[in-house]
Amino acid sequence: MAHTDIWTGSDEYLCDTELAHAFHMSRVLGMPLLIEGEPGTGKTELPLQYAKSQGLELFVYPVGSKSNVEQFVAKFDHVKYLRDSQIEILNAQREEKGLSKKLSTGGRSTEVPDDYVTHGPATKAYSIPHSVLLIDEIDKAPREFPNDLLYALSHRKFVMPESGKIIATNEVEMPAIVITSNREQELPTAFKGRCIYHYITFPEPETMREIVLKHHPKIEQKILDIGIGIFYQLRQLGLERAPSTRELLNWLKYVSHFEPKDAQQKLENLDGLGVLIKTQGDMQRVMNRIKSGFKVR
C-alpha cells in the first residue's frame, strides 16, 4: 500500500498523535475516518492539509440539508437525455423537409447512456488512485443519507445509473475518506460501525501554542502568552458557545496588524472581542464579569 505512512501534519497543520493514529489506521484498513469534535478544532483541515502536503488529488462533498446519494455518486441527466432525443426527431423531420442545417446535441449521443451521467465527487475520487475524499458535515444531511452511503462506501464500487457501468477501486488504491460531523444529530449506529471513529478533544494550552505558531510563526512571545491566557479563561466561563481554535487564530490575526505594543494593549483591552464571542448572551455575560472585576492576566 502506497500511502499508509503515518502522517503527523505539515508546516501549517498540527495533527495530534491520537488523530494521526486514527487517520493512519483508517487508511491501512481502507475504512472511512469519522471525525467529530467541537467546531473550529480543525476537522475539515485534516484532509485538506493532507492532500496538499502529499500532493494528492482532493474531492470535497459539502453536505447540506438537501444532500442525496445521487449528487454524491452520479446522476443520470434525464432532462438532457429527453431534450437530445427530441432534437434527434426534429433533425429527422428537418432532413425530410430538405433542410441541411442540423440542431446540435453537443456531441452527446442518445445511444450512449454514459454521455448523460454526471459524476459526483465520490465517483471521481474512486476513479483516481490514492486520492482524498472529504465528506464535510455529514450531520447536516437528511436522515437517510448516511444509511444510503453505507452500501456505497463498504463495497468500494459504484454502479452508474442507466448505463450500468461500474466504477470500482480496491483496498490498495482506494481514496482516503474523511467524514466530519459536528454532532448536530446522532448518526446511525450501523454507519458509525463501518467507520474508524475519532473524537477531537479540545487542545491543551501547550498544544494550542504550537497550533498558533503554525499559523502565525512570527508572533511575539508576549502576545502569544497573553492571547492564550485570555482565551482559556474565556473558555472556562461556561459560555453558551465557547470560543474555539478558529476564533483564537482570527483574533490573533486581527491584532497582528498592529505594532507589538499596540497589539498587546489591544489584547488586554479585549479589543475585537466579537471575534471570540459569538452570541449576545455570552457577550453580556463576559461584560458583566469584566464589570465585576474579572481581570485578564
Partner: protein, 440 residues
C-alpha cells in the same frame, strides 16, 4: 484470540460484536498492533463511537487487558496503585531504579502508564535521531543560561533522533541535566520546553523522553472520571448534564427531506411556447418545517423544581426552531384557554388556539397533579378538543414515572394523552410517537 472481548466490553455498555473482532484481526494482520499501546489506540478507533463512550472504553480496556478494576468515581492513579498488576510490575523493575530515587508513587505510575500506552509509533520516534546527538556535546557548560532562548522559539524544523536506544538517550539526558543551570526554552541542547532537543516536551523533536507527565497515559487519565466522557443518564429526570441528549431527541421532530419532483405547470407552459416540444422541468419539493406549540404548567409548588430546566431546554430549542416555536402557559389544567405570558395575564382563548395550523407538534408539559375537582368535565372537554385538533400531541411529565399511578388526575390525563416522562429517553419516545402519527 480475544474471543471473550465482545462479551466483556458489552458489560460496560459498549456495542462490541463479532465484527469488532474481525476488524481487530485485520488490523493485526496489517501490522497495526505490536504493543499494548497500539491495541488501545486501534480498539478505541473500532469500539468508541461517541465521546460518551471513551470513559467506559478505558475502564473496560484496563479491566480486560491489565486486570485493573476502576471503580465508579475512582481516579486512574488510584486504581493502578491498588492493582496486583502494578505491584508485580514494580517488583520486576530493576532494583537500582527502585531504590536510588526518592520518587513518590506518582512517578512510578507515570512510568507504568507510559509503558502501557507505548505505541510502535512512539518507539520509532525514540529510535530515530542519531545525528543531532552526534554533533552535540552532552558535557557542554551552561555559561550563558539564556542564549538559546531567542534562537529557536518557534518550531521550524523536525529532528530525527534515529537509532538511538532509549537507554542511551536517558544517560545523555542525565549528563546534560548535571550541567544545566537554568530553565531553557527553545534550542537543541538543553532540557526544556519548545525546542528540538530530544529531552523535555512540547517541542518539535520527533523522538525523545518526556520529562514529567505521562504521554500516552495522559489521555486515559483525563478521560477516566470526567463526566464528559461517560454516557448520559437517559432515564434521569432532566438536569443540566443530560439536557443536550434531550435536545438531540427533540431535534428528531424536525424532518427535512430532499426530493425533486416534476414541475408540471412550468413544463406545460414552456412546452406550449416551444411549439409542442415538452421538456420536463424539475423543481425541488420543499417540505414544510415543523411547527411546535409548547404548553407549560408553570403554576404551583409541585412544578417549581422543574421549571428552570424546562425553560433552559426550550430556550435552547428556540434558537433551533426560531419562529416556529410558540410557548403558552397554564396552571394545573386549562379552562377555556391558556396564557401568552409566564405571569399568566394575557389570556388566549381555546378557540384561538384551535385556529392554529393542525400540523403543529404540541408538547404539554406538566405534572398533571391537582385536586380531582380541578380537572372537571369542562376542563377535560377542553383537553379533548385540543387532542382532536392536533394529531401530534403528547404530554411530558417531569415526575418520576413510578409515581404516576399514585395520583388520580395523572391517570385521568394519561387516558387522554400519550404521557411520557421528561427524560431524554421519554422525549425521544414522544418524538417517535409524533413521527409515527404523521406517517399515518
Amino acid at each position: 484470540m480475544f474471543e471473550t472481548l465482545p462479551h466483556h466490553f458489552r458489560n460496560f455498555g459498549l456495542a462490541t460484536d463479532i465484527r469488532t473482532l474481525l476488524i481487530l484481526r485485520k488490523s493485526m494482520e496489517k501490522g497495526l498492533v505490536h504493543t499494548l499501546g497500539d491495541l488501545y489506540m486501534v480498539l478505541k478507533g473500532i469500539v468508541v463511537k461517541s465521546p460518551k463512550e471513551m470513559g467506559p472504553f478505558s475502564t473496560a480496556f484496563y479491566d480486560y487487558f491489565l486486570d485493573i478494576k476502576i471503580e465508579k468515581g475512582e481516579s486512574l492513579d488510584n486504581a493502578v496503585l491498588r492493582s496486583e498488576t502494578f505491584k508485580q510490575w514494580l517488583e520486576n523493575l530493576n532494583h537500582e531504579e527502585r531504590l536510588d530515587e526518592e520518587n513518590d508513587y506518582r512517578d512510578f505510575i507515570n512510568k507504568f502508564l507510559d509503558e502501557v500506552h507505548l505505541t510502535t509509533f512512539d518507539i520509532e520516534r525514540i529510535l530515530r535521531g542519531e545525528d543531532v546527538l552526534k554533533n552535540d556535546d552532552p558535557n557542554m557548560k551552561d555559561d550563558n543560561p539564556q542564549t538559546e532562548f531567542d534562537a529557536q522559539k518557534h518550531v521550524s524544523q523536525m529532528v530525527d533522533y534515529s537509532n538511538i536506544s532509549l537507554e542511551e538517550l536517558r544517560k545523555r539526558m542525565e549528563q546534560v541535566a548535571q550541567q544545566q543551570q537554568s530553565r531553557h526554552e527553545g534550542g537543541s541542547h538543553w532540557i526544556g520546553a519548545y525546542g528540538n532537543s530530544p529531552y523535555g516536551h512540547g517541542g518539535a523533536a520527533k523522538g525523545g523522553i518526556r520529562v514529567g507527565g505521562a504521554g500516552g497515559g495522559k489521555m486515559a487519565r483525563a478521560v477516566i472520571g470526567d463526566p464528559n466522557f461517560y454516557p448520559v443518564e437517559r432515564k434521569e429526570i432532566l438536569k443540566d448534564d443530560n439536557m443536550d441528549a434531550a435536545l438531540a431527541a427533540l431535534k428528531g421532530v424536525e424532518e427535512a427531506s430532499a426530493e425533486i419532483v416534476l414541475d408540471l405547470e412550468k413544463t406545460i407552459k414552456q412546452g406550449l411556447k416551444e411549439g409542442g416540444i415538452f421538456l420536463p422541468y424539475e423543481m425541488e419539493k420543499i417540505h414544510q418545517k415543523i411547527q411546535v406549540l409548547l404548553l407549560v404548567d408553570n403554576g404551583g409548588y409541585s412544578m417549581y423544581p422543574y421549571v428552570k430546566s424546562v425553560q433552559k431546554l426550550f430556550s435552547k430549542m428556540k434558537t433551533r426552531f426560531a419562529h416556529d416555536l410558540k410557548v403558552h402557559y397554564f396552571h394545573n389544567t386549562i379552562y377555556g384557554g391558556v396564557y401568552e405570558d409566564a405571569a399568566r395575564f394575557k389570556f388566549i382563548s381555546l378557540k384561538k388556539l384551535l385556529s392554529l395550523d393542525k400540523n403543529h407538534s404540541v408538547f404539554i408539559l406538566g405534572d398533571a397533579a391537582m385536586a380531582p375537582y380541578e380537572l372537571d368535565e369542562r376542563s377535560q372537554a377542553d383537553w379533548m378538543e385540543l387532542k382532536k385538533k392536533f394529531k401530534r400531541i403528547v404530554w411530558l411529565n417531569p415526575v418520576k414515572q413510578a409515581m404516576w399511578p399514585y395520583t388520580l388526575t395523572t391517570q385521568w390525563i394519561g387516558k387522554i394523552f400519550e404521557m411520557y416522562p421528561l427524560t431524554p429517553e421519554g422525549i425521544e419516545g414522544a418524538v417517535v410517537e409524533m413521527n409515527r402519527v404523521r406517517k399515518k
